[in-house]
């Protein structure tokens, strides 16, 4: 085991991919000389040179489109978009090209592209840099959407995503980059289609992903002090959703609270709640709860930013409400 951080785990995944496959390269804004806006690619330009680590103009649509073209031409590009907030400038490329070309070419062309981007609030970067829009991307057929929340997934999801014949989007929560922990020295690729039970429990299923996973686990610990055994599910893949794991958990606990840093209305949390109602209605013992972001642009002041997004006390309170112990 080695002591590492989420940031280093992502960097190690990129290094590993570049070394293992000559078709792999990284491109994005400031990924080279600056080392990445979140310092993920620091040192990679020196190690691999400008052919493999490419700084791009500030044009998300342009370089995402270039990545799509490269992927169709046989390369395995990793495109880094600074944050999901700026990814909207590339949304046309992602939705209208990357996600549709296999369909529109009758299966003749695929886009084996990986797009990484940061997401989430908590660093006082204000409304234009703090939103969590991964739920929007999970709406789109033709792409896969991943949310690595652990060091293992930060290290292991990228390679598996690069093997996928279709576009895969990887969302890295900004609050996780500094997270420290132990990772096996030989950590490598992981599956990208299963949710994971991060903490087993019998009383309630807390379903979450990404940055909210750690808050949810903390809430589960707090609930255990009140004799409530919460099961925590890390979705890992937001599209496709691993219904089987979710339903197996809900069938056992009969209650669910979904923790989602996206806004509540028309959210990923809404989709999961609906699937539970569709598939596990007769297993439910209480209304499904949701802890989502307040329906406001993410505020700049620290206390308001804290209040706007899911936090441990809110998650614990929602679980207690579902158990009739509020």
């Amino acid at each position: 085991m080695i002591e590492t951080t989420y940031r280093e785990a992502v960097r190690e995944a990129i290094r590993d991919a570049i070394k293992r496959d000559t078709r792999v390269f990284l491109m994005g804004e400031d990924v080279g000389r600056y080392g990445g806006c979140y310092a993920v690619s620091k040192g990679l330009l020196t190690e691999f040179g400008p052919e493999r680590i490419r700084d791009t103009p500030l044009s998300e649509s342009g370089f995402t489109g270039a990545g799509i073209g490269a992927a169709m031409g046989g390369m395995r590009p990793i495109v880094e978009l600074m944050t999901v907030n700026f990814s909207l400038l590339a949304l046309d490329q992602i939705l209208n090209n990357a996600a549709t070309i296999r369909h529109m070419s009758g299966g003749q062309f695929g886009v084996p592209l990986v797009i990484r981007m940061a997401t989430g609030a908590g660093r006082q970067l204000a409304a234009q840099h703090s939103h969590s829009l991964e739920g929007w991307y999970a709406h789109i057929p033709g792409i896969k959407v991943l949310a690595p929340a652990t060091l293992e997934d930060a290290r292991g999801m990228l390679w598996t995503a690069l093997q996928d014949p279709d576009p895969v989007l990887i969302f890295e929560n900004v609050m996780l980059y500094n997270m420290m922990g132990k990772l096996a020295a030989d950590a490598g690729p992981v599956d990208i289609d299963k949710a994971a039970v991060r903490r087993p429990g019998r009383d309630i299923s807390l379903i979450t992903y990404g940055g909210s996973l750690w808050k949810t686990l903390e809430a589960a610990t707090a609930l255990a002090a009140d004799k409530i055994e919460a099961e925590v599910i890390d979705l890992r893949s937001l599209r496709p959703l691993d219904d089987a794991t979710i339903m197996a958990s809900v069938a056992k606990t009969r209650r669910a609270v979904i923790v989602d840093e996206g806004w509540r209305s028309s959210s990923l949390a809404a989709e999961i709640a609906t699937r539970i109602v569709e598939q596990a209605f007769w297993a439910l013992d209480a209304p499904i709860g949701r802890v989502c972001t307040e329906e406001v642009p993410i505020p700049y002041p620290a206390h308001l930013e804290y209040a706007a997004i899911p936090q441990v006390p809110k998650i614990a309170a929602a679980a207690k409400t579902a158990l009739g112990r509020a």
Binding site: R254, F281, W282, A283, L284, D285, A286, P287, T321, A322, L323, G324, A326
Partner: protein, 400 residues
């Protein structure tokens, strides 16, 4: 809004203990539905409701003994506005109902479903989680008996599980709840003592050749499986019921120093209960039932009575009683009238006797039918005609 009250199930009943709710607030009921079970001296009686509507509120908790006439539940009758909606203006798009609409049409229009909001109506309805509802249905648990511990007092899986463990308790305890033979004996004592104190009985006896009945039954039952065969008791009851219709002086109640003939024949059937109990619940409209239907109703009634599940109307409705001691009994019995009824007909067991038929002696099946009549209402002459009519009817079983 009407109140559903603790019914009187007999002149000697002063109070009843509510042991089971079969409905919960929000349920729709129609006239004749069983809504509750009340424990009385006669055992546990299933109580029917006589008005259709929607249960608004249950007013009495389980295992509470309340006097006759105490309101048990509030019922919103059909067409009555829901309280949460009463003040609300009508939806602007709804066309005004024509005032001349025939009532039959109005009756077909169901009242609007309860609002989804947490208004008073929705709140009054017991909340049950889907999984709790499923568990209850699978195990036939009556949810109205389950206390909820979930969000907003909802009944949860764990609550139904708890009830299941309770229900799994030994069945001996259950019988003690439904049939208190000691209390039943007290009730019989009170009713029979009152009868002998107040009613001047006269007794008549009539021997009837029932060979035609036996022959007819043999022929009728030959192709039938055992569980749908007719018994001679069904013929006896049908004959007594038809005779009672033709002789109204034996069918009705003597109350407040006067006789009130009954419009229908609800024939009480005396049923012995193992362990020393007796009840005589009504076969409603026994004179109008086909023999097959009568037979199946009898089987049902006997079975329910012996398991302590009689309905309120069956207990309070009989207009005349028939008692038969069956195959293992004696040749004749003289019953005591169950007040406020005015007659009881007894059938002895069928015996083989030498009998004069068409001027020669032959072996015939003979039954002794008796009548105990209330001399305040009828005389021996009428009683004789009534008994003879039963005998005559039994000569033509195919016309019963």
């Amino acid at each position: 809004m009407v109140e559903f009250r603790m019914p009187s199930l007999g002149p000697d009943m002063e109070a009843g203990k509510l042991v089971e709710w079969r409905v919960k607030p929000g349920d729709r009921v129609k006239r004749g539905d069983i809504v509750a079970v009340v424990d009385t001296q006669k055992g546990a009686i299933e109580i029917e409701i006589y008005q259709s509507g929607q249960i608004e509120q249950l007013l009495v908790n389980l295992d509470t003994k309340v006097p006759v006439g105490t309101p048990l539940a509030r019922l919103r009758v059909e067409g009555e506005a829901e309280p949460g909606l009463a003040a609300a203006p009508p939806p602007p798009t709804a066309p005004a109902a024509p005032s001349a609409a025939p009532p039959a049409v109005e009756a077909l229009v169901r009242p609007p479903p309860p609002p989804i909001s947490m208004g008073p109506v929705a709140a009054a309805r017991a909340r049950v989680s889907p999984v709790a509802r499923r568990l209850a249905e699978e195990n036939r648990i009556d949810l109205s008996t389950v206390a909820g511990s979930g969000p907003g007092g909802a009944i949860t899986y764990a609550d139904v599980e708890r009830e299941l463990r309770k229900a799994a308790a030994p069945p001996e305890g259950k019988r003690a709840l439904w049939l208190d033979l000691g209390a039943m004996r007290t009730a019989i004592a009170a009713a029979m003592a009152r009868s002998k104190r107040e009613i001047p009985h006269y007794y008549l006896e009539h021997q009837v050749d029932v060979t035609p009945c036996e022959q007819w039954l043999t022929q009728k039952n030959a192709p039938r499986p055992p569980n749908s065969r007719l018994l001679i008791g069904a013929l006896a009851i049908k004959a007594a019921a038809l005779a009672a219709r033709r002789f109204p002086a034996f069918n009705g109640f003597y109350r407040d120093n006067k006789f009130e003939p009954a419009q229908a024949v609800h024939l009480g059937v005396a049923i012995a209960i193992r362990g020393g109990g007796l009840a005589a619940p009504a076969l409603h409209d026994a004179d109008r039932l086909s023999l097959d239907e009568l037979m199946s109703r009898m089987r049902d009634l006997v079975q329910r009575t012996r398991s302590g599940r009689i309905r309120s109307s069956e207990i309070s409705d009989p207009t005349i009683t028939v008692s038969s001691l069956g195959e293992r009994g004696v040749e004749a019995l003289y019953g005591i009238i169950y007040p406020p009824q005015v007659a009881i007909v007894g059938f002895g067991k069928v015996v083989t006797r030498p009998w004069v038929v068409d001027g020669a002696i032959g072996l015939r099946s003979v039954v002794t039918i008796t009548l105990s009549g209330d001399h305040r209402v009828s005389d021996g002459h009428a009683g004789a005609l009534f008994l003879a009519e039963i005998g005559r009817l039994l000569q033509e079983p195919d016309k019963l």
